[in-house]
Amino acid sequence: MISLQRVARTFGPVHALAGIDLEVGEHEFVAVIGRSGCGKSTLLRLIAGLLAPTSGRILVAGQEVTRPRRDVSLMFQRPALLPWRSVLANVLLPAEVLGLGDHRVRAHELLDLVGLAGFEKRLPHELSGGMQQRVSLCRSLIQSPRVMLMDEPFSALDAITRTELSEELQRIQLEHPRAVVFVTHSIDEAVLLADRIVVLSPRPGRIHEIVDVTLPRPRALGQVELDEVSRSLRGLLGEVTA
């Protein structure tokens, strides 16, 4: 679904990413981890079509990415909700901007799915951080994207909410698998969710190692089998900084 071919990106004299080759399958969940400043966010923005690569090619569904696509959605670290819009209107925003017609039924279903039924008319500031991020998740699902790009979506949340949301995301991905690129600096989150984990090394960001996670699903945080993978990832991240 996503194909990166020898992708590099520089910002002036700074080499953010270099020589990135990566294929992401149609139903594959790929996590990207690495130290801050290793170009994780740049990688997402390149796939999203918000940035152009300095060299190399990026394909989504076989077409070269030259601008943002309507079947690709992006989710941020902050909920990035519009404070003047109700929960429902926030979820409907992509449908509105993309001109997709009436998506109210689907919006209600999605809000139901993340346990926010009954909150449709509330304004974002009336919700907790975790609830806001759930709304943001619904918003990124409303256009039924084929590719979801997630930029540390749970990192601003407290530990408990974070766990809940990663488990919800796992459930959603199991019920309706799609291509996901999930940037995180949480090893546990990556091991819980991903089919493959890309470890980036910093300056310039390169792929240091790709780890396959073949454990059966659903997985649960704290499961002993996950610990082994986590340990080896920790080792890899140690190499990266050394």
Partner: protein, 249 residues
């Protein structure tokens, strides 16, 4: 408490003023006592209210016109760097000119009627409105802009579904500043050349040493300003229930 405290504050000030006029035996043509001011209002209530409505109408229509011109102007400035570079310095220069200096020319051009006053109001009001709108639109958070970009949103969508909405609380700050300036602008116009309005009342009463009448007119001006300012504050609360954090003043 929200109403009691301001009222109490005003009573204290009026009381001190009254006390001072009695204790120091100040002549009414220098500083009239509150009773003198009320008396001179009660002599001519109909006339003064009529003048109040004239000044109010000048201020409000000039203010409305400033919003109608200022907000689209800010949209153009934010939308185009070329326009911004071309006209923003000019706008700053226009604002730097003392309005009192322009007033006589404006009266020469537009006469003694209402239009010269409305133009004066626009001249003082438009700058805070343009600046607050433009800076509000430019300060839209990066991730919200990126969200719209990732949806491949058109410029029109980005402006009218995002930037303008985001700017609203800041626009209201500009509007509240502008609306009090509007009353000042109307009075400047009336000072320079008019046959009606509270500014005209003040300048003629000054000439005939009727200080109490001038004070009554000033009190009415203050009431207009306060009413307009809190009217806007009230409108903001009703229209922007989501913008809690911006409501400092």
């Amino acid at each position: 408490m929200r109403i009691a405290l301001p009222v109490l504050g005003m009573l204290v000030i009026v009381g001190l003023w009254w006390l001072a006029t009695i204790v120091f035996g100040i002549e009414p043509f220098l500083v009239p006592s509150p009773a003198d001011v009320v008396a001179s209002f009660l002599e001519l209530p109909g006339y003064l209210l009529e003048q109040t409505l004239i000044t109010l109408w000048e201020a409000v229509s000039g203010f409305g016109l400033s919003v109608a011109i200022g907000v689209p102007l800010a949209l153009l400035i934010v939308g185009s760097q070329v326009l911004e570079r071309m006209f923003y310095p000019l706008l700053v220069a226009l604002n730097a000119v003392p309005k009192v200096a322009i007033a006589p020319i404006v009266v020469v051009w537009f006469g003694f009627g209402i239009s010269s006053k409305v133009l004066m109001v626009v001249l003082v009001c438009i700058f805070p409105i343009v600046v607050s709108t433009a800076s509000g639109m430019k300060s839209t958070p990066r991730d919200l802009v990126e969200l719209f970009r990732s949806l491949d949103a058109s410029r029109t969508h980005e402006f009218f579904k995002l930037r303008l909405w985001h700017a609203l609380p800041q626009i209201f700050v500009g509007l509240k500043l502008a609306v009090t300036l509007a009353v000042i602008g109307a009075v400047i116009g009336e000072f320079v050349g008019a046959r009606a309005g509270l500014g005209y009342v003040i300048s003629t009463s000054g000439a005939s040493a009727d200080t109490s009448l001038a004070f009554a007119a000033m009190a009415l001006l203050a009431i207009i300003s306060v009413a307009l300012f809190y009217g806007l504050t009230f409108a903001e609360r009703k229209l922007l229930p989501w913008a809690e954090e911006h409501r400092d003043f």
